[in-house]
């Protein structure tokens, strides 16, 4: 990885956290559980090479874990599972098209929500289930953000060597 790619990735990670912070704070007023960081992770996994994709997913998860009070590592685990799913789907789906992007992100939001709730229940005996409607609303907002995020990641990374050749 050259220095320019590293700066680009760092920039994207900053943008992802800013978007996540903004959207999570905004939609929390309506009780909607938006997870924009997951959308960025999906885009990284669909477009970038496997080592970068998995590392970004793990780091993104740790970022969210940083705010948790009950358990540490659950989001890192969930995001890595999501990364495995997308990395394995990427050769079979055309993630340059809007529909596969949106469907994948919609599904991932549910997977992450359920996986996270289960982990918190199992390891911390607490409830992290945001509720059906909250998660549905979040999945809907996430999948609307997906085309923009995928476009941004592709645009910023350009013809970088980190882009996966399928």
């Amino acid at each position: 990885m050259n220095i320019v790619d590293a700066i680009k990735l760092f920039f994207l990670f900053i943008v992802a956290t800013v978007f996540h912070w903004a959207f999570a704070s905004l939609f929390a007023h309506w009780g909607i559980s938006v997870n924009t960081l997951l959308v960025f992770v999906a885009a990284f996994c669909a477009l970038l090479k496997l080592p970068v994709a998995y590392s970004a997913a793990f780091l993104g998860g740790l970022f969210l874990d940083f705010f948790g009070t009950k358990l540490f590592g659950n989001n890192a685990f969930t995001f890595t599972v999501c990364a495995c799913v997308i990395c394995n789907l990427a050769p079979r789906f055309d993630f340059d098209e809007l529909f596969p992007q949106m469907v994948a992100v919609f599904g991932l939001t549910w997977l992450a929500g359920i996986c996270n709730a289960l982990l918190v229940y199992l390891f911390a005996s607490a409830s992290a289930w945001p509720g059906f409607w909250s998660l549905l609303g979040g999945a809907f907002v996430d999948c609307l953000c997906a085309p923009l995020v995928f476009w941004l990641v592709r645009r910023v990374m350009g013809s970088s060597l980190l882009i996966r050749q399928v």
Binding site: F13, I14, T17, V18, H20, W21, A22, A24, S25, A28, G31, S33, V34, N35, K49, L50, P51, Y54, S55, A57, F58, G61, L62, F63, L64, D65, F66, F67, G68, T69, K70, L71, F72, G73, N74, N75, A76, F77, T80, V81, A83, C84, C87, G113, N116, A117, L119, V120, F123, A126, S127, A128, P130, G131, G138
Partner: protein, 283 residues
């Protein structure tokens, strides 16, 4: 003519294998270890290291969002300004009339306050803070935009306003220089000594997730009724006495073997309503 397939080299195969399976397996194992280890000690050290990496990012995110909100508000205000200008001109005329009456009422109020020796000042010293972040999957904890730099310490009581009435919102559990994490009343890990407003019985308030919070160990023969106010008790070492916690929602019928009542309480400040809070620094 078919060209014979070139066999994959061992080095290339192991490289592919490593990327495809070993890397995610390693990350999954690392996160699993982080989950099973106790939050103190080693995990706390990891968190402390991450704080150095993530806190500048969190601050940058928070500042950007606040700036964006400021820009959006300014534009909205400009659009509204013209419309409000006409309305205000009319209101000024009405206000001038009311002002004369208000002066008289104010003077009377000051006179009566002096007579009754009322202390209208707030009984606690503290700092106002805004909810900067609400992690999507952690509904019962919030991150505030102020931290140790503003004097906030762990185990500080947090109150919030709801419908013009102050109520207990939670307790500070973690503090960094510019942020602090608050465990809200509805969280399962939250507990506080409370007192029922009418009868004066004490009990232990515990959160119960999305369900109404509960007061345990209320004496069996207590006369608790729906709507009774619940306040923090002077027995609590964390919360100052007399903060409204909520109203009694229901009293669970005790089983024959039970020696105490369990009372369900609707919190005065539900988790979703926590926006701006007052962190009590000195009780």
């Amino acid at each position: 003519m078919n060209t014979p397939k070139r066999p994959i080299s061992f080095k290339r195969y192991t490289g592919h294998y490593r990327r495809r399976y070993l890397l995610p397996a390693g990350f999954l194992l690392a996160s699993f270890l982080l989950m099973i280890l106790p939050l103190e000690g080693w995990v706390a050290s990891v968190k402390a290291v991450l704080a150095y990496v993530f806190i500048p990012q969190v601050r940058a995110s928070h500042s950007t969002v606040q700036y964006a909100q400021g820009v959006s508000q300014t534009v909205q205000e400009l659009l509204r300004a013209h419309q409000e200008n006409d309305q205000l001109k009319q209101q000024i005329q009405a206000t001038q009339l009311l002002s004369a009456q208000a002066q008289e009422i104010l003077a009377e109020n000051q006179r009566l306050t002096g007579l009754l020796k009322l202390d209208v000042s707030h009984p606690w010293k503290g700092v106002w803070a805004k909810v900067a972040y609400r992690e999507p999957t952690q509904w019962n904890s919030v991150v505030l935009d102020k931290g140790s730099a503003d004097g906030i310490k762990p185990r500080s009581a947090v109150i919030a306003m709801q419908e013009g009435q102050e109520g207990l919102a939670g307790v500070v559990v973690e503090v960094t220089e510019n942020t602090s994490k608050v465990l809200l009343v509805q969280d399962e890990d939250f507990s506080a000594a409370v007192q029922l407003g009418r009868g004066g019985e004490t009990g232990l308030l515990v959160g119960d997730g999305p369900r109404p919070v509960q007061i345990k160990y209320v004496p069996l023969l207590s006369n608790v009724q729906k709507g009774d106010p619940v306040y923090t008790s002077s027995a609590s070492s964390v919360f100052p006495a007399g903060i409204l916690v909520g109203q009694v929602h229901a009293v669970r019928k005790p089983d024959s073997f039970q020696t105490a009542l369990t009372v369900e309480v609707n919190p005065q400040v539900p988790s979703s309503a926590v926006r701006e809070v007052f962190v009590i620094l000195e009780n």
